[in-house]
Subunit: 218 residues, 2 copies
């Protein structure tokens, strides 16, 4: 087995840094910690200078966003891959991380051997996501390819309102919605008013935006 994976650790907690160091200490032949940083600026300098294989990054990096740092690194030092280490096992964070160019998203409950394995995989170019999360996301992906969106917290929409909303999202005008549902335009407007109240918006495009963001509509 080739050279060890060169890793830079970034976290604003001393303790976490020490913990990771200790965790990886037993795998000197496979992973080598070449640097560590406690702030975004420091991390940026370090990564630019050392160009490590992997940057292990906390999502919440003090006041700054780990995502910004990730974008910066993937832009400026493309050969370094960013892996987020987080306590949040929420799909949404993973989506954002991957969109920001991350090469992985692991939860802080990984143990040493697993972490080492993951780091090696990432260094090889694979994208690693914590299995639990990945499983859930796979389901999400399947639903998305099916054109189905997450029936998320429904904001108390009624059946009819949901129907109107899904047509609204489809880009139909009031008249078109009315025609499709065999209703008068006035009725559609009335449903829309209720919808706007519930979604806390003032117009249709904002309603569409919210619906998409929150995955309402069947």
């Amino acid at each position: 087995m080739s050279v060890p994976v060169r890793v830079v650790l970034v976290d604003d907690h001393e303790m976490i840094l020490a913990g990771l160091q200790a965790m990886l200490a037993g795998f000197a032949g496979r992973v080598r910690v070449v640097g560590q940083a406690g702030t975004g600026d420091e991390a940026a300098r370090l990564v630019t200078a050392l160009r490590p294989d992997v940057v292990l990054l906390d999502v919440r990096l003090g006041p700054e966003s780990g995502l910004d740092l990730c974008r910066l690194i993937t832009g400026r030092v493309p050969e370094s891959r960013v892996v987020f280490l987080s306590v949040y096992d929420d799909e949404q964070y993973v989506f954002e991380a991957l969109r920001a160019g991350a090469g992985g998203y692991l939860l802080k409950r990984v143990d040493g051997p697993e972490l080492v394995r993951r780091l090696e995989e990432v260094a090889r170019g694979e994208t690693v996501v914590d299995p639990t999360l990945a499983g859930r996301m796979a389901v999400t992906a399947a639903r998305l390819t099916r054109g189905e969106f997450w029936p998320g917290a429904n904001r108390g929409l009624t059946q009819r309102e949901s129907e109107v909303l899904s047509l609204l999202v489809g880009g139909l005008s009031n008249k078109a919605i009315a025609a499709r549902l065999v209703l008068s335009e006035e009725t559609v407007k009335s449903h829309l008013r209720a919808l706007y109240r519930k979604l806390e918006v003032t117009d249709r495009s904002a309603a569409i935006a919210v619906a998409l963001r929150e995955g309402l509509f069947r």
Copy 2:
């Protein structure tokens, strides 16, 4: 740890069935194979009669499709969860399997302990996907949520038009877009008119719908 997970094995190869039996034999306290079948019909009868916790199913079940059997089982015996066991590590198959109501999709290279763990997870209601596949699917999911479908023909939008479009998708009004881009409202309207022409729509909500569907906007 509670009662063992009751499993029915379905595969049209004697050898595979025997292999699985042998693989699971060492975990009698956690998994119990309560039946096995070599054809879809046989499997359907067996599952209906035994109502096992998990049905371990090959995707390619001779001439018949494992997917159909899966749909049948999830429809008729909802308390039995179907886990596909396959050699194909292609995301597409996983999507189809999950759409057919599967509770999991594993590759035939799993070893005994892993398989047992997965079966227990599925029995608990989790959806399990082989980690390698799940990771890839997570990436796909991230791209989908980003609206990156077919990185489609950009419809020849100019820089400015794209900026306006992305704010439009965010649900902003003309006035708000103008404020954000430091433009007059008239200019925004003018860009929007161009946008509508290029997207072949007549109003903003349809434009949003198209933009989302085709993944335009940066």
